[in-house]
Symmetry: C2
Subunit: 406 residues, 2 copies
């Protein structure tokens, strides 16, 4: 008998009617002879409502107590789901984080899972019950409730699948799988049948919102196959799996973009040891996440330093960096918010030469200027002018043979 | 340093503003040098909202899962309260039933407390924290969430006070104490300074809604002084305490009434052994709670049997009893919904003769006919016509010297 872990997000369980639809689907798969573990998020809007309540008390609520508060959202979902399954004539049982138990560290609001006790779940599965587990929550070493951060239910599902040695972890969402690129930008985007963990990690970190990045890391670490599929259809979605040598694979798997960054350039920086850390210290200290960093080769003892930050942190960064630039005697600080990052991803790059060349040529052919370049083993990212984003995505998608057949 | 357990009900914590007011009051008492344990109910309306959600799924939700659902209400309250106290600059910590732990049996929806671990609470009190505990909820032997039934937060508070050997358990409510009778019926009702456990038990079981009856039983068993007082004033309320021999006490403490019963009479019942159990068997089997039962002395081998049931169960009872009356050869079954029960309560009755006589005379003087009588050691109840209820309460209140001085 196969163990299947399914995760349904907030919109999938947003009302008692939707919970019933989910229950019927779960029962169907259960009746096909599978042992079912169902991880649920809070009903859509619940978590935001609770956060709003806390913010009426204080702008900075105590993290431990905020987790106690937020954990109620998933608790409501699993109780209603188990009731529904039982009202449909099958046996079911809900478990909260502390009951499983899902052991985490005590970083409230962004806790990490250490390990999971599976005895009670396995016992209930073997007794024929459909088991439902509250996503997003765990128990720390003090016996206190923790939450795993936004999107944490994905992580709960994958971690449970790993601990239970499940056959598959199915993530149900409002799209029908992982696409080669954003279908809203590129009508020829294709749903992938499968994608490797590393590629999915790059896609997620580059802005594809289908899977929470930590759940993919977990799946990779424990080799849990993830099936990303739609709550609203019965079609197969996309399998996220481990790389295998004999799998025939295209060189480039997907094209991603991100319009949410801004660029900061400091010109004529005196090139001496430790200068980069001097510049970035106030930025890091302010909790600003720096993405790409490019430093040109030094000319006559001076260099230009360029980096990108989230658009929301742009003005703050400009202020911090302008102060430090004056102190170290740099020439000036330039900023640009009208940029976008376009990336191609694929494990095939490791063994195929000329991928970068083809990317640059493809953009050049459309007169799209490349402002910055950053590469990893399985990804090439270019910063371009924002207005060219959609065009760049479409021509790259086409150039690397990703377009759906007409 | 004194340990004080305070319990606030749903209306007292019905909004973030009200929670802040409660927090400020708790902090005040804490700063006077007391160790504070605060038991909270769910915010007003929350529990009803959750029950409605469950009822949309099924009219008969699974009891275990219903408890998982309902327990979220108190969880929200304690998290918000602890946040509020911390935002006001003091240390606070919330605990749920499973964290304390409050161990109960597994009768979901009406669980009974077995015992309470106090280590974590005491440790936190000694570290200077204000401790808040979710009312109404516990943990059973399987590690599952239970709830104690409506009004269960009172029981949580008293049980915690007993386990912690607290100096007092303060129950905050929307009235300012326990009254000699319902002030809405009798304008001369007086707030009592104190009342004995046994009297409070009779008052509660006769319809006075100030305290949940199980919490009074608990308080009596463990000799926990309860202080019933108002959330909205600083006045002293009513102390519910153990009986002491030397305490000067009036003969009658209070007058209670209950309009929620109906009367059933079976005439000319053949008087033979086991006849009563034959008659009541189908009634008890249907889960109907029978209150007063009166059987007249047998005349020529026949007797009349009269009893009262909740009005909601009247028609069901009439149907069940009519069937059994025919079977046993009784004459007929009479029913009456227009009745009320008026009772006088007081431990002084044990040592004072003539109390019953005075009650009957007082009612007779107003031409109020007594339909049934039932007495216990500290209580006399009379069933009368419903329309005389208010009059009966007022004249009894006056006759036994309970009227407030003009």
């Amino acid at each position: 008998m196969a163990i299947i872990v399914q995760k349904y997000g907030g919109t999938s369980v947003g009302s008692v009617e939707k919970i019933r639809a989910v229950a019927e689907r779960v029962i169907e798969t259960h009746k096909e002879g599978n042992q079912m573990v169902v991880v649920l998020s809070a009903m859509a809007g619940q978590t935001d409502g609770l956060i709003k309540l806390a913010s009426q008390i204080t702008p900075d609520p105590d993290p431990r107590e905020l987790d106690v508060l937020l954990a109620t959202g998933e608790q409501v979902s699993v109780a209603l789901f188990a009731m529904t399954v039982k009202s449909l004539g099958l046996e079911a049982c809900s478990f909260l984080g502390f009951q499983v138990a899902i052991h985490t560290d005590d970083l409230y609001g962004k806790a990490r899972i250490h390990n999971i006790d599976t005895d009670r779940i396995i016992k209930n599965l073997n007794e024929g019950r459909i088991v439902t587990v509250a996503g997003f929550q765990g128990l720390d070493g003090h016996g206190d409730i923790t939450t795993l951060g936004r999107g944490g239910s994905d992580t709960t599902a994958v971690a449970l699948a790993a601990a239970l040695n499940a056959d598959v972890c199915e993530i149900f969402t409002d799209v029908d799988g992982v696409y080669t690129t954003d279908p809203n930008v590129c009508p020829k985007a294709r749903k992938m049948d499968f994608i490797f963990y590393d590629e999915m990690l790059e896609m997620a970190s580059l802005g594809a919102k289908v899977l929470e990045i930590r759940s993919v890391e977990f799946a990779k670490k424990f080799n849990v196959p993830i099936h990303v599929r739609s709550t609203f259809t019965r079609e197969r979605g996309t399998m996220v799996v481990a790389e295998t040598k004999d799998m025939e694979k295209v060189v480039v798997t997907g094209v991603a973009y991100n319009k949410n960054e801004a660029r900061v350039t400091i010109t004529k920086v005196p090139d001496r040891p430790g200068i980069a850390s001097t510049i970035f210290e106030p930025v890091f200290k302010a909790g600003i996440v720096v993405d790409m960093i490019v430093q040109n080769t030094s000319q006559d003892g001076f260099t230009d330093l360029t980096f990108t930050v989230p658009k929301a942190d742009f003005y703050k960064t400009m202020k911090l960096v302008s102060a430090v630039a004056e102190k170290i005697g740099a020439e000036k600080v330039l900023g640009d918010e009208d940029i976008a990052k376009v990336s191609i991803i694929g494990v095939g790059m490791r063994t195929h030469a000329g991928v970068a060349k083809k990317m640059f040529e493809t953009l050049a052919k459309e007169n799209i200027n490349i402002v910055m370049i950053s590469t990893s083993e399985i990804k090439i990212s270019c910063i371009i002018e924002e207005k060219y984003t959609e065009l760049a995505v479409r021509v790259l998608h086409s150039a690397f043979g990703l377009d759906v057949a007409d």
